[in-house]
């Protein structure tokens, strides 16, 4: 076997396909940029006035966030009117509610600790967000919305077909990270940079409309569709996959996405929290897929191909260390071939692929992705860390497969989330008051409870 099937599996078939469509979108949208608005109006789309931030409710679910709630509110208050900001405290036992009230925003508490999805559902109902606003931004306390988010995102709602606008997620590379932290953050940046450009951009073209995730901490939904979405089904460790799947499975409308509507969450900077987070995401995905069997739609086709590749490449990456070992040990130490079973295994693997070809194909294809990201982000540090990304992909793959059977085991999966991290100074947002936004991962109790 030659190098290219391995290279394809490492680079990704879905990336190749959707990146091509994304390129067509880029050309099409650039070409029609100036005439798009007029053409839409000619077709009768532009009759309702454009949405403004006045029409957007911000909904921040919070559980014991006294250290950060005020700065989170101040950060978003620089972009939307204070009266549009809503905080729902779910079972907080600290000063979260008091501090939020002092900040002059709308605050309620859930009657019992109902979990994140439950709190969102209850807040939408009790604040009357569907009746009072046209769109709602679901925002986690650890996420910062970048200036320009609304300018980029709101025009999409001019198209009545659009029911959700997915935010573009970036993670910030902070100073003072440990080496592992740097590697993890860069790996995450790499994933965001690639998936959003090579996958999501093509998936959310107006002629395609099939993306698997509208991130639940930085995206806007048209309030009119919220009543049709079952937000809080039992047994899910994560709510945003489910909300996305509901939109498609119930054919509620289109999901729009632009790289210019940027939200910055804080991603785990240590291995323990990282593994916890990807376990939760992985399990959440499998649970959601199990809850939403496929239908005859582009979404289902996209999802089938995407998951098939996710599983195939995960299995490949988990097997990779074993394959390398079987090929490398006899090459370095030929006497190993006399050990029981080794000669047969070596022969089976070597019959398909040599060590050099396998290594070159894997690192070559992965390095191609890294170069692409370094080019997109214009940061050389990705090239410096290139060797670590394939290793983390092995970890990601192992976790994705490890949690697969748990989609059946834990029907009432409670989750423990990353522990709080030290408050970091963030640069002042342009044109707003200086915000020292504390960007902190939710407390373990919060997310733990926030799952039915």
């Amino acid at each position: 076997m030659s190098w290219w099937p391995v290279a394809i599996i490492v680079f990704g078939v879905n990336f190749a396909v959707w990146a091509t469509i994304g390129l067509v979108r880029l050309i099409e949208e650039t070409w029609r940029k100036r005439t798009l608005r007029r053409k839409l109006r000619d077709r009768g789309y532009g009759k309702s006035p454009s949405m403004t931030v006045q029409d957007v409710a911000v909904l921040i679910p919070a559980h014991n966030e006294e250290l950060v709630i005020r700065s989170s509110i101040e950060a978003i208050a620089a972009l939307v009117p204070r009266e549009n900001i809503h905080v729902v405290s779910d079972g907080s036992t600290d000063r979260t509610v008091e501090l939020a009230r002092e900040a002059g925003v709308n605050v309620i508490s859930t009657r019992t600790n109902v979990g994140k999805a439950g709190a969102l559902e209850e807040a939408i109902e009790r604040f009357g967000l569907v009746e009072r606003f046209e769109a709602v931004l679901l925002l986690d306390a650890d996420t910062t919305i970048q200036p320009g988010y609304f300018d980029a995102a709101l025009p999409f709602f001019d198209d009545p077909q659009v029911v959700a606008v997915a935010g573009a997620v970036r993670t910030e590379y902070e100073r003072g990270l440990s080496f592992i932290g740097k590697v993890l953050i860069c790996h995450r940046q790499r994933i965001y940079a690639i998936t959003q450009r090579l996958l999501k951009y093509g998936q959310t073209w107006r002629f395609t409309n099939a993306t698997h995730i509208v991130p639940g901490f930085a995206s806007m939904y048209r309030t009119a569709v919220l009543p049709k979405i079952e937000m809080n089904p039992p047994g899910l460790v994560i709510e945003d996959f489910n909300m996305t799947f509901e939109v498609y499975q119930k054919r509620l409308g289109r999901v729009a996405f632009t790289l210019d509507a940027v939200a910055v969450p804080q991603d785990p900077d240590n291995l323990r929290d990282y593994i916890r987070q990807i376990k939760r995401w992985g399990l959440g995905l499998w649970q959601t897929v199990r809850r939403h069997p496929p239908r005859l739609s582009l979404f289902s086709v996209m999802l089938t191909v995407l998951l098939l590749e996710l599983l195939t490449s995960s299995m490949f990456f988990v097997l990779l260390p074993l394959l390398l070992l079987v090929l490398a040990v006899p090459a370095v130490y030929p006497a190993a071939l006399s050990w029981p079973g080794v000669a047969t295994m070596h022969a089976d693997v070597a019959g398909h692929m040599s060590l050099q070809v396998l290594l070159l194909a894997v690192t070559g294809a992965d390095l191609a992705l890294t170069c692409l990201v370094a080019l997109i982000e214009r940061k050389l540090r990705f090239l410096a860390l290139w060797i670590f990304f394939p290793l983390l992909r092995v970890l990601d793959a192992a976790v994705a497969l490890y949690v697969f059977p748990k989609a059946w085991l834990s029907s009432t999966g409670r989750w423990t989330s990353p522990a709080r991290r030290a408050v970091k100074e963030r640069p002042a947002l342009a044109g707003s008051v200086a915000v020292s936004a504390a960007v902190i991962a939710p407390t373990p109790e919060l997310r733990g409870k926030w799952v039915e």
Binding site: M51, E134, P233, V289, P293, F316, P330, P334, H352
Partner: protein, 388 residues
């Protein structure tokens, strides 16, 4: 703030128990199907690609013209060990014509041997060597390579021979070309490959093993690996005679050198054209002069002179020393099934097309079991070579 009329607030209908269970069941089936589909993809795609793209492992038996009585029997009694046979039977006359190497007295032996090989049903790819009257010779070949008309005639002769005898192809074993023949030899190989391919026949070319383009001898410059690899179907690397009849005593094919030669070849041509040559015999030195000895002869001499065979871990090959009746010190380096195993593993690890065994004649009787164990061939029905 713009207010738009909204349909009355009603909660999304939670699914009922039964439909929810049905949905979960379907979803479970979908997820499991995806998982099994991924497993199936991982298992079948490498096989399909492997089968479609790579014509399977090649194990070529090289049979010298003087062993065409016993040789075909060895192949017949070891089915599934080889899937191509190259009888080393043709030489060049002084005028450049292709002639049998065997002396006229042994012509009938060759004819019946070839007839027996045909019955085995494996591809038959005879070798032409630049041997004239039992000696390596350069002049007939020089005339062919340096006269365009003679080259055309030679190419046509070879194609006619292959077609007349219904061979599956031809193996070119033209040795000891000067460095200055590099370009003309490439031209010849390329033209011959084109002519044979046009008739659906294959071309194999034997080349000296080397670890750089220049190698360690002008004859290495004469063979342009990249160009030959681009034209021929098989490039047979003669990875033996590192120590030879005119050198100091030592391993015929030391493993580090074999590995380096393979690694270099892989930088010059597709791996699936490379066929590693493995010698089966050895040399018996007295001083700096040696005679070729088969494994049987080595075995006999070790017995006769009560010599103990030593294993050299650097070259991974066996040797022994003895003193003959005239009091001369002998040093014997040879190849057996154990040293062969290392070369077979190297071929396998390198992911090359296969190996050829040079030459089948009184070899270690464990050789063929070793070959079958390390380089198992596909089912005999697949050995027709039709995929080429």
């Amino acid at each position: 703030m713009t207010k738009i009329s909204i349909e009355p607030r009603r909660p999304a209908t939670p699914s009922t128990g039964r439909s929810r269970r049905l949905r979960l069941l379907t979803g479970s089936a979908f997820l499991l199907t995806l998982f099994l589909g991924a497993v199936a993809l991982l298992v079948t795609v490498p096989r399909m690609l492997g089968a479609g793209e790579k014509p399977g492992t090649l194990a070529v038996a090289s049979l010298p013209f003087w062993n065409l009585t016993e040789g075909p029997n060895i192949l017949a009694t070891n089915p599934g060990t080889f899937n191509e046979v190259s009888p080393w039977i043709y030489g060049l006359a002084r005028n450049g014509q292709i002639v049998p190497q065997a002396p006229p007295g042994r012509a009938s032996e060759v004819v019946s041997g070839i007839a027996q090989l045909r019955k085995l049903g494996m591809p038959l790819v005879p070798s032409i060597a630049n041997r004239t009257n039992g000696q390596w010779s350069y002049e007939p070949l020089a005339d062919i390579l340096h006269d365009p008309a003679a080259m055309t005639r030679h190419v046509n002769d070879i194609v006619a021979l292959v077609q007349r005898e219904n061979y599956d192809g031809i193996d070119i074993d033209y040795e000891d070309l000067p460095a200055t023949d590099r370009q003309v030899f490439t031209t010849f190989v390329t033209r011959l490959a084109d002519a044979l391919h046009a008739k659906g026949k294959i071309l194999s070319v034997a080349v000296f093993a080397k670890t750089t383009d220049a190698g360690d001898d002008p004859r290495n410059v004469g063979q342009d690996y990249a160009a030959i690899g681009a034209a021929a179907d098989e490039v047979r690397i003669m990875a033996y005679d590192y120590h030879w009849s005119g050198s100091t005593p030592g391993s015929v094919a030391p493993m580090p050198w074999v590995r380096d030669a393979l690694a270099y070849a892989k930088t010059q041509m597709p791996a699936d054209k490379i066929v590693l040559g493995i010698a089966l015999s050895g040399y018996d030195w007295v001083g700096d002069q040696a005679e070729v000895v088969t494994w049987i002869q080595c075995y006999g001499r070790a017995q006769k002179y009560h010599a103990t065979t030593q294993w050299d871990r650097l070259s991974q090959s066996p040797s022994f020393k003895y003193t003959d009746e005239q009091g001369r010190q002998h040093e014997v380096w040879f190849e057996n099934a154990d040293s062969m195993a290392f070369k077979l593993e190297a071929a396998k690890t390198a992911g090359i097309r296969g190996v050829y065994l040079w030459m089948i004649s009184s070899e270690d009787d464990r050789s063929w079991a070793t070959l079958r164990r390390i380089l198992p061939l596909k089912a005999p029905s697949d050995t027709e070579g039709t995929s080429r």
